[in-house]
Structures are given as C-alpha cells and as structure tokens.
Symmetry: C2
Subunit: 432 residues, 2 copies
C-alpha cells in the first residue's frame, strides 16, 4: 500500500475567536484517518508559509496543545496572512505546486472567505495541470458573515460570526449599564463595529435587546443614511430617552477618512487617518446634542474578533465540525469542495454539515437582506433576530486560566525540513 499523501492546512485573512477550533477539527480528523492522510502540516502565516516552505508539523504536537486550540483566539497558533496570490502572477502559484510536490502534499485545506475559496480552487486546477493529484478543500470563516450567497443556500452562516455577534450582544448590554447610569452628563456613546461592506456585525447589537427597551440606534452602511440624518435620529432619541447608544459600521459613509488598503485592496479601517466613529462623535458634538454633555466614542477594533471569552459555544462547536467535515469531504469526495453549515427548517435551531463546490462559493456574493433592515434605517427586524439569536448560544465558553491568565495553545516549533531553494515574496521585494 502506498504511503498516504501529506496534508497542508492554512489560514487566510482576518482572524476570529474560533478559527483555531476549525484548525483543530481538520487536524484531529486527519490524524484519526492515518490510512488516508499522512503528516499534517500547517503553513506558518498561511500561504506565505507555503511559499517560504515554512511548514509546522501538526502531527508532532502534543494532543493537549491541539485540544487547547479550541480556546485560543485569533491566528497566533499557526498564523494567517493577507498575502494575495495574484492570478496574473503565475510565479507564486507555480511555487506553491513546487512546495507541495517537494513535501508529497496530496491534501490542501484552506480556511478563509470567498477570496480564499477562489485561491484554493485555482491552486487545485494548476496542480492538476502540473501532474499533482491535489485535493483542495475549503473551510469557511469570516466574522463578517459574507461568505456564500444571500439566499443562504451555499451556507447558512460563517463560523466566526456567531462569536462576534455574541461580543456585540453582551457588550451592548454592558455599555447600556454605563450609558443609563451616566446619562445626565454623558448621554451618547458611539461604538464603531467592524464589517467593511456588510452589516451583520452592527446588526448583532440588536441581540442585546430583542424587546427594544434600550435607546439603541444601529447605523449600517446599507442604511444609506447621511451623517445629518444620523445626528437627527440621535437627537430624536435624546429628546425621548435622554440618552442614546449609537452603533455605527466602520463602512458607514461619512466621506473621506484617509483610508489605507491591505494587499487585497480592502480598506483597513483601523489604519485610517481617522475613524467613522470619531467622525460621528465630532459631528454630534459640533451640531450639538439635544441634552447636556458630550458624545463619546469607543473603537473596539480587533478586540471584537479576538476576545476569547466572548466566543459563542455554538460557534466553537460548529467551527470544529466544519473543519472535521472538510477532512471527511477530502477523504470521501475528493477535490474542489468547501464544507458548509446548513440550517434545518423549523422553529428549533438545528444545523447539518454538507459540501458545496469551491467554484460556486468563489463566484458568489452575499449582501445583507434588505427586508431585515427597518424602514427608518436605524434597526433590524425580528426576522434578523430569529436568524442570529441561536448563533450566540446560551453559556460562557470554558476558557482555562493558569496563574490568572488564559492558557492558550503553544505549538512546538517542529518544522518540515526545507527541500527547496529560498523564495522571496513579492511584498518583500516591493518593500526593498
């Protein structure tokens, strides 16, 4: 019997609190099938690690550390990257194939969003052209919940979203305690939410208050409202309630904020010259509040995607299972699929795991359903709440503490032996 082909797993893009739960799912499942899968490697910092032949041996790690991945947030364990393999830049793609051949890789798991599914698909195609029988499998991930299509046929929701939704539900509860306690002199708290193009994250604030008892206003990019309209709604709320909690998307249109772009050409809002939250605070303080005191702002930034204790237990489990399912698909169905989460119809939340072709995901686009935004543009509907509520779960996750600090997974630096000449990344060449 031939030796089973080896495995590379890699992550791409922004992290989530549960990204490592999917990693654990892939690794443990591959290791449970030694007849199918050989050594499991992880690309250090995603595809960059593959290009640079920096492959961590996951099979050589202590089982305890692999288990601890589930409660280790963000991508610190194996790293991620924002390095884009450009279609016109054949060199990078050829290098990936070369590295895969050198290490007898037959399986490639790529954890990311639509862009990453496209990349995985292209790598698999080129591999086949170059005579490498590669099975490429996608594992979905984004906090933005923007993977798949708007009809939820390809995927119901993306792992990572449930946790950031829970972050917003619980943090708006906390913020409401401060706002209602401090309101005579400190009446407006503006909080900026992530989600550059799509409003699932700010929308999740509504989960803090499904009965609409708080003076909570949600300004998604999709509302199409102006800064003037925003200020009017805030002042209307101040007149009624004496206070307001204003959640605004980082993508809400306030004009020029001195944006910076990442390698994908996406705006990196937290690296901009100013922030939407700050612009909103300044505007409210300039036009004047219909109350004593000033508006103030919080920009939690990356905290919302790496605060482990806010992870949803439902999300943690689902992230593990899509990783597990990806390994099963690779073993049983072969090349070209992404594992997916689909919801069973009916009043009880229940999901099942399936596969969808990478190509369908790569060419899909999700938008926030228009009918989930209220007519005045400052709230989301009960249908959205019914969709999102189950994703945040019921309980706190068990995040182990040792010496008062979080005990995160720490992988041993056991790397695959390098077999190829060094390769210089385009981004490094550009920096010189």
């Amino acid at each position: 019997m031939p030796r089973p082909k080896n495995v590379v797993v890699a992550q791409s893009g922004g992290p989530t609190p549960v990204i490592n739960s999917s990693l654990r799912g892939v690794v443990e499942t591959c290791m449970a099938m030694p007849d199918v899968f050989g050594t499991v490697y992880a690309g250090l910092h995603g595809i960059e690690g593959v290009l640079k032949e920096e492959l961590i041996n996951m099979s050589a790690q202590p089982a305890e550390e692999i288990a601890l991945l589930s409660t280790t947030p963000a991508a610190g364990a194996i790293g991620t990257c924002r390095y884009k393999l450009k279609a016109h830049q054949q060199e990078d793609f050829e290098r990936v194939i070369e590295v895969f051949k050198a290490h007898d890789i037959g399986y490639f798991f790529y954890n990311g969003g639509n862009d990453s599914m496209d990349t995985a698909n292209k790598i698999a195609k080129l591999a086949h052209e170059r005579g490498l029988d590669l099975v490429a499998t996608g594992v979905p991930k984004t906090i933005d919940n923007d993977v798949g299509d708007s009809e939820f046929k390809l995927i119901d929701h993306t792992p990572g979203y449930g946790s950031v939704a829970r972050y917003w539900a619980l943090n708006i509860q906390n913020a409401n305690e401060e706002n209602r306690g401090s309101c005579p002199s400190d009446p407006v708290l503006v909080i900026q939410a992530m989600g550059r193009k799509i409003g699932y994250i700010p929308a999740a604030s509504r989960l803090a208050d499904p009965d609409r008892e708080m003076p909570l206003l949600i300004f998604m990019r999709e509302s199409g409202l102006t800064l003037e309209a925003l200020a009017d709604r805030v002042n209307d709320t101040l007149k009624l309630h004496g206070r307001a909690i204003v959640v605004v998307s980082e993508g809400f249109d306030v004009g020029d904020i001195g944006e910076r772009k990442d390698a994908f050409g996406h705006t990196m809002f937290s690296a901009s010259k100013t922030s939407v939250g700050q612009v909103v605070v300044n505007y409210l303080n300039e036009v004047g509040l219909a109350a004593r005191g000033s508006a103030r702002g919080n920009i939690p930034g990356t905290d919302q995607r790496h605060s482990m204790i806010y992870a949803s237990t439902v999300d943690l489990e689902e992230a593990y299972k899509v990783g597990q399912k990806a390994a099963l698909i690779a073993a049983e169905d072969g090349n070209g699929y992404m594992s997916t989460i689909l919801r069973q119809p009916g009043p009880i939340y229940n999901v099942y795991y399936d596969k969808v072709p990478l190509e369908l995901v790569a060419n899909s686009e999700r938008t926030f359903p228009k009918h989930w935004i209220t007519p005045d543009g400052t709230d989301v509907t009960d249908d959205f709440v019914r969709y999102a509520r189950p994703l945040i779960g019921e309980d706190w996750p068990s995040v182990p503490l040792v010496g008062g600090l979080q005990r995160f997974a720490r992988l041993k630096p056991v790397m695959a032996e390098k077999k190829l000449p060094p390769y210089e990344l385009q981004a490094v060449r550009e920096k010189k």
Copy 2:
C-alpha cells in the same frame, strides 16, 4: 427608642465593573442592622438625585436583585453623575441638607474618588452647622487607582482597579494572539488605555506577560517620552521581533487633540476631536514602519470599565467588603471616615479593612511610583507586577446568563415620596 435615622448612598464619577458590589455591601450591611439604620435610599444619578429629591428605596427591593448587583457592571442600577457641588455655590450644599432633613437622613455613604471624599466631608460639616447630625462615610472607587497617597498608607489600591487591570492582562493576551498571527502584513497594534493622569491602567498590560516574551511596549504619560521617541522604540522592536503591541495612555502627550472637559474640568478623552491612539497610528504610518504593512489602532474606551466578565473576583470581593466596612464604620465610629483596604506585609497577598479620615484622603494625591517605570520609559518593573498581580485574581467571575444574555440587577422604581419643592440643577439652568 427613637426610630433609627435613614440612609442615603450615592455614586460619583466614572463607573467600574465592581461599583455595584460596593453598593450591595453598603445596602446589605445597613439592612442587617435595623437598630442602627432606617430605610436605605440611593440617590438616582448620585448627588443629582439627592438635589432633585429622586431617592430610590433600596430597602424595598427584592433580595435577589440586590444580590445580582455584584455581577452588574457600571452604574446602571442607581446611576452616577459628574455633577460637581461647587464650594462657592452654597445653594447646592444647602439643598442637600434640606433634602436630608426632609427624609430624616442620618447616614450618607458616598462612593467615589478623592474629589468625592472632599464633597462628603464638606456636606457633613455643613450638616452639623445646620443642626443635622449627619454621619458621612466614604467608599473608595476608581479604575485609575489614584485615590489616597503614593506611599499606600491611606489605601493600598482602589476597588475597580483590579478589574480594569485584569481587562488589560487578558486583552493583551488576546491581542498578542492576533498580532503574532497576522504580523507579516499587519505588524503593529496600538491600543489606547484609560487613566488621564496616572499610568496604573496601561501599566497593567505587563500582567499579560510577566516573563517579557511579547514585543509589548507601554507608553505611560509619566514616561515623558515624545511621539518621535515612541516611533523609534516601535521601529526598534519591529527590527527585533517583526511586530509590536503598543499600549499608550490616553494622557500621553501628543499635542493638541481637541479636548473636551467634563463638569470637573477633567479632559474627557473619548469625546475629544481625535484620540492619542489615532495620533500615534497616524504618526507611525507617516514616518514609516521598519516592516511591511501598517499600524492599526483600538480605542476600547469605556469597554475596559464596564465589561463584566473581565471583572476580577478579588476586586469583586474587596469592593463588597469596603462597602460593608463603610456601614460598620458609620455605625461604630461615626462621622468623617472612608473605609479602606490595606495590605499585610509579606509574600502572601492578604488585605484587611480599616478607616481613614475623609479629610486626609481629600487632601492626598497619588502618583505612579517613578521607580516602577523602567529607565527606558517603555515598561514597568517586577515590583509593579508583584503589587498588581494579586489584584486580578485567579478565576473568571460567575456572570449569570439567561437566554444567552447577562442577567443584570433590575431595581423596582420604588421612590421616596417627594416632600420639597422642585429644584433646578445649575447645569440644566446653563443649558437653557
């Protein structure tokens, strides 16, 4: 036997995750001594509620809600205020005495910082001049840990600080996972810490990494460093480690940020036109990083003082006990003291509770010990770590969830019957 005098408890200034734990301590202890204390009222929104004769009847609340105060963050339950009773504005002081007389108040508990201890002291003095035998007792609170003196003789640390220290310890751990995972393209994360004048909060970041394994730089106001020096240290760290986590105090001197002031004349950093964190991010991106990618920034703002799950169990217990102690002092020692926490010498963390005269606290000032800042100005010493480490405790607090959401205390709106004509606050008069 005469009917025991009634009680007013009130909160002042910015909240903490454990402020309500002290409130619970005062209320439960007073209610346990019905021979000494009559009905316990709370001023709605602090001294503003006293002036407006808006007094919540705490004795009429369900025991369950009072117990839940311990895991209810910030000041939502009874409210706080930033309303300053000005010494030259005799009218407000006279009104407080009038309200106290009307409701047969013999005990006044004031929860706050040095300013509030001063106010409590002045109210007690005027009460005595006006023939009201008032026992005023202070309950210490601030996240800044700036109550008392720099020799820790009046108080070792202030309730509230241990929880915000824990927030920073755990959040820097989380941020480090993201930063090390994303560093090739996203190498610098700047996080702005609260603490307008004093660096205990940014200093607590060191608790995340007592062994100094992370590329963590702490820029306190007290460092006296310039923005240029900051950028140099960041780039030195990038050259060594390829990444950096930069904690910067909101009070770090970066020049004009368009400050706004609160009623005390204190800068409200989160209401400023820009933020120190943003200025640092922009400066780093302008001078250029010694690495690929951009600097990005998080401004957690009020989140660090109202995120309940990050509260320290040690802080929660101590906050309760200083509230309890305040009630005991009022009953046994009479007027003019603040309850305090003092640390027993020796290697094992152990505290005891005592009293100090309000006047001493009112006239004291704490600064961050200079010898706890490292010579290069970007770190704190092991002595600081030994001081602060015990305050963050060992475990997660038990924050109850119902329906996936935090179950906070909800007081019934049972108010004392108004007995006086209405009174208009100065701030309201000014707004007109």
